[in-house]
Amino acid sequence: MKLLEYEAKRILAKYGIPIPRGGLAANIAEAREIAQTLKPPLVVKAQVPVAGRGKAGGILFAESVDDVEKAVNKLFNMQIRGIPVRSVWIEEKVNAKRELYFGMTVDRLNKTYVMIGSTEGGMEIEEVAEKAPQKILKFPVDPLYGFRLYHARQMAKRMGYSGNQLSAIANIFYNLYRAGVDYDAELIEMNPLAETPEGNFVAMDARIIVDDNALFRHPEFKERPLEGEFSPQEVEAAKNDLAYVKLDGDIGVIGNGAGLVMATLDAIQLYGGKPANFLDVGGGAPSEKIAAALRIVLSDSNVKALFINILGGITRCDEVARGILKAREKLGIEKPMVIRLVGTNEEEGKRILTEAGIQVLDSMEEAARQVVEVARRL
């Protein structure tokens, strides 16, 4: 779950990391009220969970309360990468002498967290990694021992800090690690972390992605609305415990198992078709879940034809067949369907569908070829 900037900053502040003075506003009146308490120049920032917000026009500057009102009006009428702006964070502009990067992410290969520091902050860290990899300092964390304050000092030293600044910035690094671990962050970063002309440090922007699988430990995020960030189909799928990703083609796809569904999309593309979505019903799906999957895929108006690819292991083919018929009856599906059904209880599944006049194939590739053909003719 991607937290918004203000949520991330409030967490950082809780861990003693300096952030610019500011406040959150959901309407003009609130914005004016907050602006009055702050010292200009000010920054007005759209609260949307997308990286590269600045480039997309989501960050505006203001010299007065009236300026703030204008900026807020503009942002509220904007969509950033398709996401409408519903709140803004207004803060005092930081005078940065130098922009640094500091963050923590997961190193999948070494199965641990890794702390990343760079004196080249302000742009995406992936970009720095590509252009100037020598400017990136990586520090793998021993999972059983943790990231200690002296590790933070070592990193600060290697980034060129000494004296009072060494302790100040090392504390920030260490506290960011603590916040990251406490909040089950997949990613927590300050970018940029500003060094002011007076030699102080302030987190100008912050990003936290909370591990979705750890949300049960963080009930405070449970009630966050998902709308806006996801398509209506994605929200509906999440409610039904289905993995759905919207794509831009016209062939709806349903399958069991992430790898199999990915391979199905690839096969459609190989034969010149374009998949409309990824949908994995998971293992052992009962007929109701199959019906829900059909409903979600068909609610995308771009879908012209449907491809259901099931390889039954713990999923039973007869359950799938019943689910398909149930959905067809209830939703009045008229769009053409190509179905591949093999595995556990295959004969029963095929019988149910064949008797209902639906053709069932054995080969996934043959089925992919057929559905592309069918979609092309429509």
Binding site: V106, L144, G259
Partner: protein, 295 residues
């Protein structure tokens, strides 16, 4: 033969009284897997399909000899169950559970490394050495004892390709699902090393997918170590867009990293044949093995 599990494997099932745990215990027993005990806290003294259930792993191991554990415990408690097995000396652990928090998985893997244990998963269909032992949830009838080692990041796609191998009478030595989570125990390289030493394994099928760079590193390893057995790869996700998780938590293209193209390219450079479609894999292997025989 085969690797990691075989006739000598004696397993406990953690989370044996749950719906999944109980159902698959039955199927594993039917397959011939030696399931010696089950563990579910609070359910000690009961039995599941004739298997005695204990409250703790410690108690189960006082009464029975076991060298492996398969875990069906719900995600919030799965890491704790894995730690319990590790601390009690179990050296092979299969974690079927999905959606385990990354922080928890990191601790489990670090501890496993410290005590020299092998972890398969989380979010895996498990491991099967056909004809000897099934420690997992895969449909057994698809597999037949044979000469191809399989290692995969995907469940159903493994079944798809395994069925093809079985049809062509090639069969499998051992099939391992590495797991779909971002943090998993075994990786491709470690499994390749094991297959190299296994006399039953004559060739390896490697099934990768988008996300991470494990496939690229594996390709590097194959070149550097001049891997002696033929490898055929399939990579899922050529049509996947960047920034979207394709079902598995680990299957995501970040910026330009983790695409199918870079993985396919890396394997081809390493001399590994890459199949365009899952159904091509068996035919490619058949040809490679026949050519090898002819030479």
């Amino acid at each position: 033969m085969g690797i990691i599990v075989g006739k000598e494997t004696k397993a406990i099932v953690q989370g044996i009284t749950g719906a999944q745990g109980s159902f698959h215990t039955k199927l594993m027993l039917e397959y011939g897997t030696k399931v010696v005990a089950g563990v579910t806290p609070g359910k000690g003294g009961t039995t599941v399909h004739g298997v005695p259930v204990y409250d703790t792993v410690e108690e189960a191991l006082e009464k029975h000899e076991a060298n492996a554990s398969i875990i069906f415990v719900p995600a919030p408690y799965a890491a704790d169950a894995a730690m319990e097995a590790l601390e009690n000396g179990i050296k092979t652990i299969v974690i079927i559970t999905e959606h385990i928090p990354i922080k928890d998985s990191i601790s489990v893997m670090a501890y496993a490394c410290q005590v020299g244990a092998t972890v398969i998963g989380p979010n895996t269909p498990g491991i099967i050495t056909p004809g000897e032992c099934k420690l997992g949830i895969m449909p057994a009838h698809i597999f037949k004892p044979g000469k191809v080692g399989m290692v995969s990041r995907s469940g159903t796609l493994t079944y798809e390709i395994a069925a093809g191998l079985t049809k062509k009478q090639l069969g499998q030595s051992t099939c391992i699902g590495l797991g779909g989570d971002p943090i998993v125990g075994l990786n491709f390289i470690e499994v390749l090393k094991l297959f190299e030493k296994d006399p039953q394994t004559e060739a390896v099928v490697l099934i990768g997918e988008i996300g991470g760079n494990l496939e690229e590193l594996t390709a590097e390893y194959i070149v550097k170590e001049k891997y002696p057995k033929p490898v055929v790869a399939f990579i899922a996700g050529r049509s996947a867009p960047p920034g979207k998780r394709m079902g598995h938590a680990g299957a995501i293209i970040m910026g330009r990293a983790g695409t199918a193209e870079t993985k396919i390219e890396a394997f081809k450079k390493a001399g590994v044949e890459v199949a365009e479609k899952p159904s091509d894999v068996a035919a490619m292997l058949e040809k490679i093995l026949n050519d090898k025989l002819a030479r």
